[in-house]
Symmetry: C2
Subunit: 226 residues, 2 copies
DNA sequence: GGAATGCTTCGACTACGATCGAAGTATGAA
DNA sequence: TTCATACTTCGATCGTAGTCGAAGCATTCC
């Protein structure tokens, strides 16, 4: 009515249970087809299609056609950050959709947050990088130091490629289970990819949980001491 | 359906335009009565009452009876932080409720964010405190240093009182106009109160804008150099 | 070409929630 | 006690948004 941004539109988009389930599923970081998303949401394909059109119009998701499939994903890092913030609040109210089960500890230890690592391990990684002065922090802005640049290149990450994209390399993202920040941005994404490619960790099916192998666990803890 | 917090409930609470307007009004930091909130939302008192009951059930607001008035306010700092995060996202999408007008620059310069200072001045204040090593930053956690404690006591803020409450003293809050962090928490609140009490600044009516007097402006900039 | 898959669009149904008038409760003032 | 103010609760109405069946495109496979 007066001033300020219009939160009602975004709220109503998130407010429908079917759409919220789809968004949660997309927080897993993988692009999903309407059929898959319909299954996550528990609705028919037609309904899912209509929801996806609305989410796209609202700028929350984007689609990419590939053959006869359409892959939907969260449109930007920002969407993930905002959703994680909402989840944090909901969790603090004890509003959870699931009966606490055996998977819960695994989720708290390590899970995927859109495209980067979250949970205990995610927070530890950022803390460790800060302690080693490879990332510097000022306000909410994280910046990679010279030492940090060398470090990630030694890990085999292509710094130049990260630099080229318009996305921020480092970004902090609030963790809903740990209530602290972990590393997002294109570097966060690259690091998660690295862990998966090296075979240190695998995604669980149908879940955001990430399971580290014994070898991967050791390598990770070595790489990011506290 | 599966795991993770339930964001749909919160989303649907924010998703109704009347409720969104009420929440935006409460972001002004003052506790408001149902009658006032009804006016902000553009609905009748009955409707407002029903909305407030829902917001309260969802844990977003709390009420305090005082005589024959009921004062509603955001229930915790966390609510303000989450809403600000949503606003930031909405603003980045160009979803604003208002035609950009003369008040806009004033809002960007200094405004109230629930109970603390936001906008250019809010961001500057936190930056300055960090530069002076009076606040230290690690992840999203801000901590007041020894030097910081002395500094705020010199300003006449009762550190012991802040310490007593269970709320965090320092907290970072993402600014939707500046896209950077400013200082929230009980210290953020105390500092804003200080500026108002000293007569350095005044709230605008019917707006979140804060207008600094000439004297206040000078004092503020002296106090928080860059 | 024809058939199958993946998805969107259309149309109709339904249900839930926002809205407000009217009546009820509580607090304070006269 | 009586009246006024501030608010809640009840009940009825109305719109709109979610839902799905059926039909329509598009792409790929055979």
């Amino acid at each position: 009515m007066k001033e300020g941004p219009d939160i009602a539109l975004i709220g109503s988009l998130i407010g429908d249970p079917a759409r919220a389930n789809m968004l949660s599923a997309l927080m897993g970081g993988q692009a999903l087809t309407p059929t898959e998303l319909a299954a996550h949401a528990g609705v028919t394909l037609q309904t899912a299609s209509s929801h996806l059109a609305k989410l796209e119009a609202g700028g929350l998701v984007t689609q990419r056609k590939q053959g006869r499939h359409r892959y939907y994903a969260l449109s930007e890092d920002e969407v993930g950050l905002m959703l994680e913030s909402l989840m944090g609040f909901a969790a603090s109210r004890g509003l959870t959709r699931h009966r606490p089960g055996p998977k819960d500890p695994a989720l708290r230890k390590a899970r995927v947050c859109y495209n980067h690592l979250a949970g205990d391990y995610g927070v530890r990684m950022l803390d460790s990088l800060i302690n080693a002065r490879q990332i510097e922090i000022a306000g909410d802005d994280l910046t990679l130091t010279e030492a940090g640049r060398e470090r990630i290149e030694a890990l085999g990450i292509d710094y130049a490629a990260l630099k080229k994209s318009r996305r921020p390399i480092c970004r902090s993202c609030l963790d809903w289970s740990e209530r602290r920040s972990h590393l997002a941005g294109s570097l966060g994404e690259a690091l998660l990819k690295l862990f998966l490619n090296e075979g240190w960790a695998k995604r669980e099916k149908e879940s955001r949980a990430i399971r580290f192998t014994d070898r991967g666990d050791k390598a990770f803890l070595d790489l990011f001491p506290l």
